[in-house]
């Protein structure tokens, strides 16, 4: 690759990674946004849904626009819109403002990503290589997104997740501006659009189903870790990083199995298996979330690459069909979130009530000194009031511990039992949603079975 081309390839890869990371980077910031903007679980879900919905709707039209006005200009303008909207997200003090800014971000993002796929073949020399750069940049962004979001949320603020995107998007736009100027000067814009083939229906349908399952896996797991098990965003980020790490291992398997349909089927099965594992966690322990995450991670690497390959294989122009895969993936994310959010929101509320009643029963039936018991009950009641609608943190209700060793041991046992009731209640609240997400993954097997790659 020519040295002069490298900054442009890096800028295009950065743009794709940045935009596709945005779908997941905000996941770990959602609990913080939920608290700070004083909204509901359903309300905060729209921070994710709005972005994915607009990208899903705008991806194909954006690809057409990019081909009509010139991909360089489209990418530069897209990145500028993305940066401006990111600034608005970071400054938003109301949920509605944040959601509108997220929609604008998605519009800019769709334009930048599809234009990048149009620019890359000419920049790197071949369509195949361009697809590889584009796919790996997107996968890297999506994989690193949650971890970066978690660290930024805890170390700085949820706003920083969006504000940091502003300089990165502008930096990516600079080398692309040169392409835009060249397009303007030489008028090498392809005004006669090639007739585009039909999108690969089955591969795109399967992509939507699998993306719904994967989005649910990430979103539900993060909520379980932060809201259910009360982990900090950084801790949760470290836990969910297992999924992208496993995806790296999974991507190695991609090279070992040439048949893309088998890879897609195996990937969908692993994603579903991992989700079913998360539905049946025997204990509220982080370690037990790791094996299911490994299955989901390996599965997503296999299925996403295989289906994207099938959807793009033998089809031109790549930007339009790339737009269809983006639209399918993001539509799947929206489907997953919209179907599962009301279910798990209702389940969480019911399980919270049951767990609190069960916890109170544990306190009342314990053999702890009645005065201590009443003191604990009062403090737990205060915690419930303070953390209304959420699973309460009960440690403060048990402080200070009695000095008498017998009483101390009884109180510690009571705390353990109460914590166990609350943790298991919170874990169980997510079971139905994880099972439904696993079913979405299995449903994807039908379109996968019907999909066939066409190499022209």
């Amino acid at each position: 690759m020519e040295t002069s081309v490298r900054p442009r390839v890096a800028a295009l890869a950065l743009a794709v990674g940045l935009v596709l990371a945005d779908s997941s980077i905000v996941v770990l910031a959602l609990p913080e946004i939920y608290r700070e903007l004083d909204t509901s679980v359903s309300g905060v879900t729209w921070v994710l849904v709005s972005f994915n919905l607009v990208i899903a709707l705008a991806a194909v039209p954006a690809a057409l626009v990019a081909r009509r006005v010139g991909p360089g200009r489209a990418a530069a303008v897209g990145l500028a819109i993305f940066a401006g909207a990111g600034l608005a997200c970071g400054l938003a003090d109301e949920l509605s403002t944040l959601i509108v800014a997220r929609c604008l971000q998605a519009l800019g993002g769709a334009l930048a990503v599809t234009a990048a796929l149009e620019l890359l073949p000419a920049t790197v020399g071949s369509e195949r290589r361009a697809t590889a750069v584009w796919a790996s940049a997107g996968a890297t962004g999506a994989a690193l997104g949650p971890a970066i979001g978690g660290f930024l949320t805890e170390l700085v603020s949820w706003q920083s997740v969006f504000l940091l995107q502003v300089p990165i998007a502008l930096a990516a736009a600079v080398p692309i501006l040169a392409v835009a100027k060249h397009e303007m000067a030489t008028r090498v814009i392809e005004r006669e659009l090639r007739r585009t083939g039909r999108p690969h229906l089955w591969a795109n349908l399967a992509l939507a189903m699998v993306s719904a399952a994967i989005a649910a896996a990430l979103f539900l797991l993060v909520l379980l870790l932060i809201e259910g098990w009360r982990l900090s965003p950084i801790e949760a980020a470290l836990v969910v990083s297992v999924m992208p790490l496993a995806a790296i291992i999974g991507s190695r398997l991609t090279n070992l199995v040439p048949d893309s349909r088998s890879r897609a089927a195996a990937g969908a099965i692993l994603v579903s298996g991992g989700l079913a594992g998360l539905a049946f966690l025997p204990k509220a322990t982080i370690a037990l979330t790791l094996p299911p995450q490994i299955l989901v991670g390996i599965g997503l690497a296999l299925v996403l690459s295989a289906l994207t390959e099938t959807a793009l294989g033998g089809r031109a122009p790549q930007a339009i069909h790339g737009g269809w895969t983006i639209a399918s993936r993001h539509a799947g994310v929206v489907l997953g979130l919209l179907v599962l959010t009301p279910i798990f929101t209702a389940d969480i509320e019911q399980q919270r009530r049951e767990a609190i009643d069960a916890g109170t029963a544990v306190i009342l039936d314990s053999s702890v000194n009645p005065l201590l018991k009443i003191d604990v009950a009062e403090k737990v009641s205060e915690r419930l009031e303070e953390e209304q609608g959420k699973v309460p943190t009960i440690e403060p209700a048990f402080e200070p511990k009695p000095t008498d060793p017998v009483e101390r041991s009884e109180v510690e046992q009571l705390q353990g039992e109460l914590q166990d009731q609350l943790d298991r209640g919170a874990t169980h609240a997510f079971s139905t949603s994880f099972i439904l997400a696993a079913l979405l993954g299995l449903i994807a097997l039908f379109p996968i079975a019907l999909s066939r790659r066409v190499d022209l």
């Binding site: 088998s262 692993l270 049946f280 037990l288 009641s381």
Partner: protein, 185 residues
């Protein structure tokens, strides 16, 4: 890419099925689907008194019986009522939510305390000689004091014993069981 080291698609699919089934099977075997929250008992059903040995144990069961009795009257669970009586703010939220006025709450809490005395007497933890005057005292007790007794049954039972202590010898001569049932020395 050379054919060397390539895996068959069927092997990959079979491996995925096996890995998924192993994981789910292991989690189910470890109790992954067995979660049931601790069941909340119907407060109108009698709650068994174990054999209390100390004042603290008697107080625990006395509190539970009193909460059961009051909750049964109000048509709520013992657990809901316990949280409602924990603080004045919680009580206010509870009465607003269930549309219960103070008079109704007072009647229910008194009824709960009377049930606790009955249960204690039946379990042999409270002498009939003490139970009778206690019942009379509790029938007209103001709401705040009634709640105080539920929240500090140990102090209340200790006071009863302290108040009646001087009469203990006489009572024990009159009743074979005496005050022994209170579990006090």
């Amino acid at each position: 890419m050379s054919g060397e080291g390539r895996l068959s698609g069927h092997v990959l699919i079979l491996g995925s099925i096996v890995a998924s089934l192993l994981l789910v099977g292991a989690y189910l075997a470890a109790g992954g689907s067995s979660y049931e929250p601790k069941q909340v008992q119907d407060p109108c059903q009698p709650r068994e008194w174990s054999d209390p040995q100390t004042l603290a144990q008697i107080a625990n069961q006395f509190t539970n019986s009193a909460l059961d009795g009051a909750a049964c009257q109000l048509g709520v669970s013992r657990e809901t009522l316990a949280r409602a009586l924990a603080t004045p703010e919680a009580r206010e939220r509870f009465t607003e939510r269930y549309g219960i006025d103070d008079e109704k709450l007072a009647r229910a809490v008194r009824a709960g305390l009377l049930r606790a005395v009955d249960d204690a007497e039946e379990a042999g933890a409270l002498s009939p000689l003490l139970a009778a005057p206690l019942r009379r005292a509790l029938e007209e007790i103001p709401l705040d004091q009634a709640i105080e007794i539920i929240n500090d049954a140990q102090g209340f039972l200790g006071d009863v014993e302290g108040f009646l202590g001087p009469a203990k010898g006489i009572i024990e001569q009159l009743l074979p069981g005496g005050l022994g049932g209170l579990g006090l020395p």
